[in-house]
């Protein structure tokens, strides 16, 4: 296998919530939120990896740690074999860029599109000064906005157009790796499709590698080559997209898939799905993190032993990922209602 473009090795991002003096004096341990808790992940050049999970699972924090917006507590981010820290020099920073979820708050409302783009181009010396205007036009053209947009402020755009501007901004620095954090979840359905198609087109045209962070399983299925499922700070399953959707091995992935509402009326899942709420990442369950909500958990194994990501190519962190299960636990994905 070729060398990975990006490699995360045992990455941890912990936030200390209450570690003040008062707590120390009383001899209490500080409260720590384990947003990312031991993630190994590789991205091959040119692929789109979908990272899915529910809110609070740490998927955005993971993205932020890769771009350098958050310092990892431990573990390493390696880019082309070289370690990257959160503080990085300009040339390295340029190569990984991010598109944020909310196009309303991630653009400076006081700057025109041209100012936004020109500032970046200048700071990174991307083009000679007299070429800035032309490059701005080129960038807007790339994301399907006309040159007229140059002098406009963000408020003059619709949500979908704003997201295009955000993408143009990310592309201004000619990155190799694009991290898209929920790029379409704030947009209407009819607009979502255009932005997803645009991302795919750009990926082809510019040879980008993309990490797509999303909670919508269907979006990921359409765009990603490979999918990693995250739960409470860990990757619990990872496989090629088709394989993951047709043959999920982790009960959490299976639950996520059954829970997605279907467009075909009457095809509702009859199974109970995933019960309860995700536990707090401050007070993690012992053993397998999913065991309190798991329909196939077995005591005492699952509450005492932490399963490892096992498998070949398709990996899953479940004690029973590769064993036959009792029939009633096979999730029925489609059930024609009477």
């Amino acid at each position: 296998m070729a060398e990975a473009l990006l490699r995360l090795d045992d990455l941890h991002v912990h936030y200390t919530l209450r570690g003040g003096l008062g707590r120390k004096v009383r001899g209490k341990q500080p409260e720590i939120l384990r947003a990312v808790d031991g993630v190994d992940l590789e991205l091959q050049r040119g692929e789109t990896l979908g990272l899915v999970g529910e809110s609070g699972c740490g998927k955005s924090t993971l993205g932020r740690a890769i771009v350098g917006l958050t310092d990892p507590t431990s573990g390493t981010v390696e880019y082309e074999g070289q370690a990257l820290t959160a503080k990085r020099e300009r040339a390295k920073r340029r190569r990984i860029q991010m598109v944020f979820q909310d196009p309303y708050s991630s653009l400076n409302p006081r700057m025109t599109v041209k100012q936004t783009l020109a500032e970046l181009l200048k700071a990174h010396n991307m083009v000679p000064n007299n070429g800035i205007e032309a490059r701005c036009k080129e960038l807007l053209d790339l994301v399907g906005l006309g040159a007229r947009a140059l002098e406009a402020h963000p408020r003059q755009f619709s949500g979908g157009q704003r997201q295009r501007v955000s993408i143009a901004r990310a592309l201004a620095l000619e990155p190799e790796l694009l991290i898209a954090d929920e790029p379409v979840s704030a947009l209407d359905v009819s607009v979502q499709a255009t932005v997803l198609n645009l991302l795919e087109e750009l990926k082809e045209k510019l040879g980008l590698t993309v990490l797509l962070i999303a909670h919508n399983m269907a979006v990921v299925r359409h765009v990603a080559d490979r999918v990693a499922v995250m739960y409470l700070g860990r990757i619990v399953e990872q496989a090629e997209t088709d394989e993951l959707f047709t043959n999920p091995r982790h009960p959490y992935t299976q639950g996520l898939l059954t829970a997605v509402p279907r467009l075909v009326p009457g095809r509702e899942s009859q199974s109970t799905g995933v019960v309860g709420d995700p536990p707090s990442p401050i007070d993690l369950p012992t053993g397998c993190r999913f065991h309190p909500r798991c329909p196939i958990a077995q005591e005492p194994l699952c509450s005492s032993e932490d399963p490892v990501l096992g498998g070949n190519g398709h990996v899953a962190a479940c004690h029973f990922a590769w064993t036959e299960r009792p029939a009633e636990h096979v999730p029925e994905v489609l059930e024609e209602a009477t």
Binding site: E54, V189, S190, Q192, N197, N216, A218, L263, D277
Partner: protein, 337 residues
């Protein structure tokens, strides 16, 4: 249809006074809701679906004005009713479930007391009876250990539990009609699944009517029998969900169905609807969808297009609905549907 409809909306018009002019957010919306029926209102942001829903209970946002049409709920004309009558109606006949339980619940009141408020104040129950009723409702909506949870404040509960509390409150006055405004949009998909199942089960068991507003076609497919698709303040298509999704008659409905990523139907490229919804301060002449429509003809631009009956209990606001159907038959929207 032997029973009288519970809700009858006719030619509803709601306007907003804005700096850039008068915006007619809801323009001539009509529909009925039968007792015990679940009706879905689907549309994108700005389509007028939420404003329509709020008009049903007289809870229009500030700046909005009802300028025409009638709304009858359980025989009462809401548009003509006094504030007192409207409040009465909201307490007992109609209730509402909001999108954001955290902002809709009272943050400084124990959730058990919030559920008991309705039985206590409106139904005139004694304090202990109201309390017992609250616990009963909490059990009904699937809250584990209601006794302990009744003493919690909203911030102590998870998003899923908070939404269950909202549902319990909505049911506390024994309503005939529950209005749901994107009740699962703020929730994670596994929790959404739990809440949708609960709503479906309650609707069946308690025989209440639902009006369910959502932007998510799949959520509507899983909760409602009938739907109305809204675009730019108007209903553009109505009919039974299964039929509309299998064979849409309006180009907008078709466009939406093709744009939704679904993982049973994987396409090379997601279809999209070009352009953006119109500014309602100056809507386009003729059919409001014509600037974005792939089937557009000259007659679409000339005159406003009425809702046209296109089959049993089905209507579409499109002059060329036959061509939409041809297109669907060539390339089905839902595989095997």
């Amino acid at each position: 249809m032997t029973r009288e409809p519970l809700v009858r909306v006719r030619d509803l018009q709601v306007e907003f006074q804005l700096a850039r002019g008068v915006v007619r957010a809801v323009d001539g919306v009509s529909f009925d809701v039968e007792p015990g029926e679940a009706l879905g209102l689907v549309g994108e942001s700005g389509s007028g679906k939420t404003v329509t829903l709020r008009a049903l209970v007289g809870l229009l946002p500030r700046g909005a004005k009802l300028v025409g049409g009638t709304i009858e709920v359980d025989g009462v004309d809401v548009t003509a009713a006094s504030d007192d009558t409207q409040r009465e109606l909201r307490g007992t006949t109609v209730s509402m479930i909001f999108q954001e339980p955290m902002t809709a619940l009272n943050p400084v009141m124990r959730v058990g007391d919030q559920i008991a408020e309705e039985p206590l104040v409106r139904l005139g129950m004694s304090r202990s009876a109201a309390k017992a009723r609250a616990l009963e409702l909490m059990a009904l909506v699937g809250i584990p250990d209601p006794k302990r949870r009744a003493d919690a404040y909203p911030h102590e509960l998870s998003g899923g539990l908070r939404q269950r509390i909202m549902i319990a409150i909505a049911l506390s006055g024994d309503p005939k009609l529950v209005l749901c405004d994107e009740p699962t949009t703020a929730l994670d998909v596994t929790i959404q699944d739990q809440i949708l199942k609960l709503l479906r089960q309650l609707q069946r068991e308690l025989d209440v009517s639902l009006v369910f507003v959502s932007h998510d076609l799949a959520v509507i497919a899983q909760t409602c029998r009938r739907l109305a698709v809204m675009y730019a303040g108007q209903v553009v298509e109505t009919g039974p969900v299964a039929e509309v999704f299998r064979e849409p008659r309006h180009p907008y409905t078709l466009g939406l169905l093709r744009a939704v990523p679904d993982f049973e139907i994987v396409r090379d490229k997601l279809a999209s609807i070009p352009g953006a919804p119109p500014d309602l301060a100056s809507p386009p002449p003729g059919c409001r969808f014509h600037p974005r429509c792939p089937f557009v003809q000259d007659d679409c631009i000339a005159n406003a297009v009425p809702l046209i009956e296109v089959g049993d209990h089905r209507a579409a606001r499109c002059l060329h609905h036959e061509r939409v159907v041809e297109d669907v038959r060539r390339e089905p929207v839902i595989a095997g549907g």
